[in-house]
């Protein structure tokens, strides 16, 4: 037997209680791992996106559309080299798989996004095919789509003139990203704005959700975005212009401040955990006060006793924490697979680091008071049950 063996043996004095406590630690860290990686997916934004593009949306919200008549005015701004636009299509594959799908002008989009790599012939086909559709490599692989196929896609927003929400498009191109980061985002689908303008039932024409401005090398993004917003101030179409990165973040924030939500959930989870494990530790020390006194009698120092109790707390939280984090990475991998890589949930180093810090802090939080109590025990009082 060793001191470690003794600590572990003590953990299993009340098997059921220890297992239940362990399960709650595991659950908490599983949640922690998943939520934290969701959070880091969203909050990291896209660092690799340069500041060479600006996004212009309606000031109220990007769900409010802006008229395409703004294009020439935007193009006239010094420093702006190209203008593209995108409108949310609300595409749905089969019954309920939402697609990240936009209507746009092929040539303009191509000019603004050199990061997408696709044979020129396919770009041309996209431009020339009214019902054309291009998709990213990931999406194509996920559903086994091939160029030349007709892809039925419905829209949860836009019916066609005949009232049907079921649309069909000709897949004319599949694009890749210029590097690994961009390749990860090839889960997008694009169709022609012109075709959409013509075919949608509401007769919505010439409007879009946002413009994308490509800036000249060395242009002052800050100044240009102020210029744009000033230009449309007090018009019916006031704008809000920001960098692509900020736009990506605020896009996500429309769903809610994920970071804040995650923090609150984790706070609640860990607070509960603190109570559960703290109670287990306090109880386990309380019920073996005579035993702790005997250890002191045998010659274990106050410091050793303190160490024993703290080690128990640490072992409990460490075991549960590691299992929880491992489960989270397994679950993350599953989610990633199930969504065909559309939803990346990997526990990166920062999540693990944070997890280990949480394990250490949690151990201290639940172990310190019981350990101090054990350390302070007076042998004669404890032996006599006083």
């Amino acid at each position: 037997m060793t001191r470690t063996g003794f600590v572990v043996a003590n953990l299993f004095r009340k098997r059921v209680r220890t297992i239940l406590t362990l399960l709650s630690v595991i659950m908490a860290f599983l949640l922690f791992g998943l939520l934290q990686s969701v959070n880091s997916v969203f909050s990291s934004g896209a660092d690799f996106v340069g500041a060479t593009r600006l996004f212009v949306q309606a000031r109220v919200s990007f769900t409010t559309s802006l008229p395409l008549s703004m294009v020439p005015k935007l193009e006239a701004i010094p420093g702006v080299t190209h203008v593209a636009y995108q409108q949310w299509f609300g595409g749905v594959w089969q019954t309920n798989t939402p697609l990240i799908m936009f209507t746009l002008d092929p040539q303009r989009y191509h000019d603004v996004y050199p990061e997408w790599k696709m044979p020129e012939a396919q770009w041309q086909a996209f431009e020339q095919t009214r019902t054309g559709l291009i998709v990213g490599r990931q999406l194509a692989n996920q559903y086994g789509w091939k160029v030349g196929q007709k892809i039925p896609i419905s829209s949860n927003i836009w019916p066609q003139k005949n009232g049907s929400k079921a649309w069909a498009f000709d897949l004319v191109g599949i694009f890749d990203g210029k590097d690994e980061d961009w390749q990860k985002r090839t889960n997008l689908a694009f169709i022609q704005q012109d075709y959409f303008d013509e075919a949608n039932q509401f007769g919505i024409k010439g409007r879009t959700n946002f413009f994308i401005l490509k800036l000249a090398e060395g242009a002052n993004a800050e100044a240009i975005s102020r210029t744009v917003d000033a230009m449309f101030e007090n018009s019916p179409d006031e704008t809000k212009t920001q960098t692509e990165k900020d736009f990506n973040i605020s896009f996500v924030k429309q769903i809610g401040d994920i970071g804040l939500m995650v923090r609150w959930i984790l706070f609640a989870v860990f607070f509960t955990l603190l109570l559960v494990v703290g109670n287990t530790m306090a109880q386990s020390v309380r019920e073996r006060i005579p035993e702790l006194a005997v250890l002191k009698t045998l010659g274990f120092s106050d410091g050793s006793i303190f160490g024993f109790v703290l080690a128990e707390a640490f072992a409990l939280v460490l075991a549960g924490g590691l299992v929880g984090l491992v489960l989270a990475s397994l679950a993350g991998a599953l989610v990633e697979k199930a969504t065909g890589g559309q939803f990346l949930l990997e526990l990166d180093a920062s999540v693990w680091l944070l997890g280990v810090a949480a394990i250490v802090l949690m151990s201290l939080a639940v172990g310190l008071l019981p350990a101090l109590r054990a350390r302070r025990l007076e042998i004669v009082d404890a032996l006599a049950g006083r």
């Binding site: 037997m1 060793t2 009698t297 274990f300 106050d302 004669v380 032996l383």
Partner: protein
Amino acid sequence: MSEPMVQVHNVTKVYERGKQKIEVLHGLTLEIPQGDFVALMGPSGSGKTTLLNLIGGLDKPTAGEITVGGQRIDQLGSGQLANWRAHNVGFVFQFYNLMPVLTAEGNVELPLLLTKLSGAQRRKNVAVALEVVGLSDRAKHKPRELSGGQEQRVAIARALVSDPQLLVCDEPTGDLDRKTADEILGLLQVLNREHGKTIVIVTHDPKAAEFARRTLHLEKGQLLEQAA
């Protein structure tokens, strides 16, 4: 005989309970030679446990001197005292006080975790101690799988395993039936006679006197007689 095993000189013990002060021992003096087997008797509350705890270095006197095995222990700090106990004294309690999560073997090994002995040496010493108390065949049993008498034997093995010269036992037979109590007292007698351990037991059992070399009576914190 060389110097005494235990010297208690003019020891006073006062417990403070809030504002209340209880003086339990009043200038008590006592000498226990090496190799003695003393039965300490007396009514409840007379201070027997208090005296035993002082001799065993579990508590410190309010005044007076205590020397055990040539070492003044009343002046040691609590860390030094813990270390001193680990090497010089073995304890046996009325309710055995074994660790329920450990086997007999594990319980006996516990004090050896405080020594520098190797794992193999520890196991050897544990086997010897269990042999001495006649429980080799129960080494792998947990306390709840043992009878009271067997538990007390394990406790005695635990007290012996680091080979202290002094054993202090607080009502070691208080929770046992007559026959088992006699066996335990017999075992202590063997430890005294054959292994040369100095033993002090607190007991209510008049028969314990038959096993001890002498009996001391404590009443209201004072020794009544000191049989030769």
